[in-house]
Symmetry: C2
Subunit: 575 residues, 2 copies
């Protein structure tokens, strides 16, 4: 039985509203954590599900203790028996934590229609094409109004760190919701396309029942600076540069990459793109007119060697120090076409994502060791600005929308709490600020306060290699134990007919202790195993019991001798 | 053969100076990384070692990929055959990364004399007593001048985040060294004891051959603020608090804890200490007069329940979110005497150490979930100030000492490079700024430029549970593989007399895939194993070859089917 066939559990079941029509918001991800965004809007009449609208379907990044897990995707088992009700999916913007989950779960949703603004759709379609899903996201412009079952969805352009980001106004039979995912107010954006404040105000003139809002920047006072300041910093670096310049940022930050290229051209450099994610995104952006530069300014990676280093500007993937990224490979002398030399400059125009600081610092050290200059945000102000609004941006959206209820999303718990303080400063009462956790189902009706009517027990669906959902909690717990304590396998050959131990036992360990230097310990461990076997002579055929005895006795012995508690696996071989 | 008996290797051996007398500085830790500080000053005459002075002996914190490792200690094998030359050890200050290694390596150094300023000696002696080493560090005051073999060591008081921190002036037969480990210039320190700038200037009046200097703050412009600002912030929190206040900081930051207690008393609260590291340090500090408060202000943890929450001020260990610390246990409802309630306040007066951000954020979220208020440095300015000098502090020390050569220590590579830029701004030339890495031996003489004469191949000596050095690179590599890919054990029973497989094979995996749902995969894997055995029929007794074949074939098969490369351990059981 695969993960997807195991039924989802509801750990709390409350009573529903008395009204005829209700709308439930079901966060399958994106609240209480920053990534894996996926929200359901579910319309019910007399308690029966009629229509479901999905907003976003992103990947999450594994916690450090999820050893070996590549990424996490939303647990969509709730939808398993509700496919006939799903009317469609709208993506808010083209970041992986909003679009990246779709290739993994598309076949679980039924063949549903999907929409997104132009670049959002293009980025999502790259993901779908990669694993040969035929369906595509339909691109829509910001004036489009979608009627999706009983839902009317309109788009509001917002500035963020990827072009074409949108907030959604979702009208439902019981009232209007404002889905305010990732944004900031950049009044001087690089692409000239500001947030559509007039549309936000228009939405606010009607009654908005609930504002779902980005809250990731709720700890930062003031407004988030404009992307313009980054351009100025990049120019400073170009002025100082005496060799190649390598520039890295989030691969989806098309406007910043465009700006960097324009500046590089002004300084007489040619441009090369290094790394698959950069290649793909730039190709899509150029095709759609989101990036523009003269073709002759480009140089292929293999032709770089013909250019003097002072003429090279390389846009490189790997701003988070990912060990297998182009930039890490370059810094470690293992890239096919690019090497770092003394006098080169590397500009890291990104802040480490929480949890990636170690990788980024390792990368910086590796670059320095090559004799190159590195600019990174700890030593150079304005080398990166966040795409998320700070307290000022957040208060501006809240004031413009003026909702009856607020539901902060896209932040960890501390960001939610900090947002609540802000909203309270603006006159909202605690009960008007909803802090549901993932899986908590909030029910709204037109005439009474929203409340949690159900709590779904969501699991982390982990992707490891080709497997989706096959690394579950048991596998992960074993990995954690072995990673920190090691594993000890005890092999005991038993004669089938007599139930006697024929030889051994053999003890094999990995990640526990260096066996060749631990002969005494191993011999004593073998004696412990044999004693466990001897003690239970009368019940020797109850193998499960014997295995448990061996595990317990050996565990106590090894903990006393080494202070470690390895995973112990007794294997009884009948011969 | 234990780790300590394996000889250390020299990977580079250059030519020595021609002069009669030389001094070598050998960094066994503390350059290229922040922790595990240990420096040797080695005096030679005509190339022969005469005398060795050791400065500091600290622990290091494991890299994230050192799974299960508790801490790292310096590799002192270089000293194994040189005990007769070691004249003594001086500690600069009482932080674990300067004193914490001594209990692990003391028996490798011979019964050497040790010195430190009063509180430094007290903290180091707590460590030694814990594992029942009889020797003790001799406390000295700042006016003391030690003559240790040919070295004359005097102390300069420096402000840092622990009282009694010292820089050392080390006079040798070939010139004077200034050992400027961790410091900042706090001109208004909480204990009133400023850095002794006059002494630094006096040292600078003589010729200082080389300045070893803290460089951790070299990325930060300006001066590091005084500890005073933290007091003001703590007072704000006390004013706002409506329930218990829990205060946490580094357990060695005695002055800050003292200040927090004074403020708590002003606000009519009683004080309890929660956590072993806090208990031990406070006890030592009180005994030596570094902390003062009325005995009746104290309350034992078990008596807290008799006090109203508004009268409680708890100084709690665990400011880095360590999962087994007192504060984490409290936040997760598993502390014996303390629980968090709505309305309580937790003040985290510390910045996360790089790599610990995830644990600290998890802690903050857990506290919020209890309904308590948390103050932490992301939302509250001046809740923590660094103990390390910023660019201004560093330039002040450099200008006052005016050395011929500079050797930045106690920073990662990026800090060293950043310090070099600073020193260049002050007029030093690149060749005067020495950037050796751990194990690189720098030789100084009175008449020619210092240079690297030898490079020792140092290993990370890892402490895991009770084992010191028994987790080596092989064990660690296995842990890494298993942690991310899992382990597959293949058990093959073979009849000893005939060399035939009697049954099976059995395949056991952990951390790889959930076996109960993967019957088909396991069966196919067994067939792969059997094929490997059949192919090599003629050579069936060459078990090593058979094992290798099984590993390779099974690895290819599993990678193709699952995208993972688990550690494969074939076990052949002769029966």
């Amino acid at each position: 039985m695969s993960f997807w066939e195991t039924p989802h559990k509801t750990v709390y079941q409350g009573t529903s509203k008395t009204g005829r029509d209700t709308v439930r918001i079901i966060p399958l991800g994106g609240t209480g954590n920053v990534t894996k965004n996926m929200f359901l809007y579910e319309y019910r009449v007399d308690g029966a599900i009629r229509d479901i609208l999905i907003v976003d379907c992103g990947i999450g990044f594994p916690d450090p203790e999820m050893y070996g897990v590549d990424l996490v995707i939303p647990d969509v088992r709730y939808l398993a028996n509700k496919k006939q009700h799903i009317r469609g999916l709208v993506f808010t913007h083209g970041h992986d934590d909003h679009i990246g989950g779709i290739p993994y779960v598309y076949d679980k949703l039924g063949n549903i229609p999907m929409w997104g603004t132009t670049l959002t759709a293009a980025f999502a379609n790259i993901k779908l094409a990669e694993i040969r899903i035929k369906s595509r996201v339909t691109p829509v412009d910001f004036e489009k109004v979608l009627r999706i079952g009983p839902f009317t969805v309109s788009f509001i352009r917002m500035t963020h760190s990827v072009p074409d980001a949108a907030n959604l106004v979702i009208e439902t039979p019981i009232g209007t919701f404002y889905h305010g995912s990732d944004f900031k107010f950049d009044f001087d954006p690089l692409d000239g396309k500001r947030s559509e404040l007039a549309k936000i105000n228009a939405a606010g003139k009607r009654v908005v029942l609930c504002l779902l809002t980005d809250c990731l920047g709720s700890e930062r006072p003031g407004f988030t600076p404009s992307e313009q300041v980054v351009g100025e910093t990049i120019e400073k670096e170009l002025k100082l540069a005496t060799g190649k310049v390598l520039f890295t940022t989030q691969s989806s930050n098309i406007s910043r990459i465009q700006r960097a290229i324009e500046l590089a051209l002004q300084y007489g450099r040619h441009v090369a793109f290094i790394g698959r994610s950069i290649d793909q995104n730039v190709e899509a952006a150029v095709k759609l007119g989101y990036m523009k530069f003269p073709r002759e300014a480009l140089v292929r990676d293999r032709d770089l060697k013909r250019l003097p280093s002072t003429k090279q500007f390389l846009v490189v993937a790997g701003s988070q120090g990912q060990p297998d990224s182009a930039l890490s490979r370059i810094a470690n002398d293992s890239h096919r076409f690019v090497r770092l030399d003394e006098g080169d400059t590397v500009v890291i125009s990104a802040d480490p994502i929480p949890g990636r600081e170690h990788d980024v610092n390792t990368l910086i050290d590796a670059i320095y060791r090559k004799g190159a200059r590195v600019s990174y945000s700890d030593i150079m102000e304005d080398l990166h600005v966040s795409g998320h609004g700070s307290q000022g941006d957040l208060m501006l959206l809240l004031s413009a929308v003026g909702p009856r209820y607020i539901f902060p999303i896209g932040g960890t718990y501390k960001h939610l709490m900090q947002y609540r303080r802000l909203a309270q400063d603006l006159g909202y009462e605690k009960r008007e600020i909803l802090i549901p956790e993932e899986g908590q189902v909030l029910e709204f009706s037109s005439h009474s306060a929203p409340r949690v009517v159900e709590t779904l027990e969501l699991e982390n669906v982990m992707v490891d290699g080709l497997g989706v959902g096959d690394v579950g909690n048991i596998v992960l717990r074993d990995r954690q134990t072995i990673a920190t304590e090691g594993i000890v396998v005890v092999v005991i050959p038993i004669q089938k007919s007599t139930g006697r131990v024929t030889s051994g036992p053999d003890i094999i360990s990995r990640g526990f202790i260096y066996m060749k230097e631990s002969g005494g310990l191993i011999d004593a461990a073998k004696r412990t195993v044999l004693q466990s076997l001897r003690l239970k002579k009368g019940r020797m055929m109850d193998w499960q019991f014997v295995r448990k005895q061996i595990s317990e006795n050996l565990s106590v012995f090894l903990a006393r001798e080494t202070g470690r508690r390895p995973l112990i696996v007794p294997v009884i071989v009948e011969v």
